[in-house]
Amino acid sequence: MLSDTRVQVADVSFSYDEQAAPALSGVSAVIEPGSFVAVLGHNGSGKSTLAKLLNALYLPTEGNVVVCGYNTREEKYVWEIRQRAGMIFQNPDNQIVATVVREDVAFGLENLGVPTEEMIPRIESALSAVRMSSFSDKAPHMLSGGQKQRVAIAGILAMEPSVIIADEATAMLDPSGRKEVLETIRALNRQKGITVIWITHFMEEAALADRVLVMSDGEIRLSGKPAEVFDRMDEMREMHLDVPHMTSLAGELRAAGMPLRPGILTVEELAEEVERLCPLKSST
């Protein structure tokens, strides 16, 4: 069972109450081990509901969610699932439970009943992976938002998960905090092969993912590589979503006749295309 570290969502529907329209309807997706998948969608599109289904905070009304081989419907596996698929939330201040950083990281392990001698190295290595070792004796309230989110990530890492689900983990951070959290999570994805499911409103963050899922009205509407998804600018805007600034500028230039290649996401990519299409005249 351990060998299967996929996250499978099969034809899942979910309603908060019977009268209301379903928050999710007929959602299916397979998240491959080690991949970095961004989930986009406006408020109320079902992103957070999906996230909460992935670690058994909610159970599907219909369909199945299988995390690392465990079906979330089987109550006896709930803790197995939550240990394998850790979740980070939006507000850094709502996730810190202890008064000292290292104790906060220890919280999950204590609940699992991990012996102290095993706990210490796991905490140290988790803090070092998020570059917060030097803060291990500090009080969490003295940390910046980005640092708090990194402590929250360390708390999950200590549980040695296969999957990290982040529900707008950077929404309340400033640009430097956002960058440090995103870099931390990307490093964990690449170096430790942890699967990341990254829910965000920042198109620039989604542009870095292996794959983007776009949700609207409780369904997955688009799925593909960031370059493919963001080139479908009209559809994105119909769903009240942006595309990265450079993709949008490239789109307008293309509409005005400039034959730019598709799939431009970053400043560097657009600069290269401009260089290709408008070569500098060496003599003048």
Partner: protein, 287 residues
């Protein structure tokens, strides 16, 4: 009602080992009808500064003059001055508490002792400013609304006081693109149509490029630069050195300049950049 900040210094935990200088000799003046953006990374003193502007914090030294009057002067009616300077905190929707949207917005005017008719007029005005339809939303619970709508209700509560100056600390933080755009459009209109002076703290350089007529850049408790967005975003080295970004369009220009293209230094609006790039391409293909 111009705002003038004169040699303002603020220390937290004065007289203890944790003493921190959050603002260090800050001076500037904001004229009526300006749309001023304050930018700076976390801890640069922006929020401390904003709290001084309607008297929530008292300066360690220096003055805040509203319409020439010292906000912290002995005989000043701070209540009246505060009514004229509306302050919208970060995540203001956390402060909503009433049963209905209308009641929540009416809270300030009611405390002012206005008549029922006047209160109703204020609520309608404020809801109109934030693009919430009165008939549809007035009697709804604010807690049933989306995050972006809740934030607009909170802003309406401040606008119902009919402030001449509106100060907002990170008004778009944490919203989705649609919610963000609605807030920005609304601010644009308030500034243009109602002639409200606006002071906005934001991390989003692209928002600032779109809205602000002037920028104040803060770092480590001091003002390090001041000028139009055009002037500020042309100084990408200065911005990078204090840990701030410039709008992406300005970064593209910098990247192209590094490749040897000559582009004006003050290009940061996507539309202008688009025209420039098209010209560059047409000139290239003409020869």
């Amino acid at each position: 009602m111009p705002i003038e900040v004169v040699h303002l210094t603020h220390c937290y935990s004065e007289g203890s080992a944790l003493r921190t200088v959050a603002l260090n000799d800050v001076s500037f003046r904001i004229e009526d009808g300006e749309f001023v953006g304050i930018i700076g990374h976390t801890g640069s003193g922006k929020s401390t500064l904003v709290q001084h502007l309607n008297g929530l914090l008292k300066p360690s030294s220096g003055q805040v003059l509203i319409d020439g009057e010292d906000l912290n002067g002995e005989h000043v009616n701070r209540r009246v001055l505060r009514q004229r300077i509306g302050l919208v905190f970060q995540y203001p929707e956390y402060q909503l508490f009433e049963e209905t949207v209308a009641k929540d917005i009416a809270f300030g005017p009611k405390n002012q002792g206005l008549s029922a008719a006047e209160i109703d007029e204020r609520v309608r005005y404020a809801m109109d400013c934030v693009h919430l339809n009165y008939d549809k939303y007035a009697e709804r619970s604010p807690f049933e609304l989306s995050g972006g709508q809740m934030r607009r209700v909170a802003i309406a509560g401040v606008l119902a006081m009919r402030p001449s100056v509106l100060i907002l600390d990170e008004p778009t933080a944490g919203l989705d693109p649609r919610g963000r755009d609605k807030i920005l459009t609304m601010l644009e209109e308030l500034h243009a149509r109602e002639n409200v002076t606006i002071l906005m703290v934001s991390h989003s350089m692209d928002d600032m490029a779109r809205l602000a007529t002037r920028l104040i850049v803060m770092s480590e408790g001091k003002i390090v630069a001041e000028g139009t967005p055009r002037e500020i975003f042309a100084r990408d080295d200065m911005m990078t050195s204090i840990g701030l970004d410039v709008p992406e369009a300005a970064r593209l220009c910098a990247a192209l300049r590094a490749k040897g293209y000559s582009l004006p230094a003050d290009l940061f609006m996507p539309e202008e950049l688009k025209e420039h790039l098209l010209r560059l391409w047409k000139e290239g293909s003409a020869c």
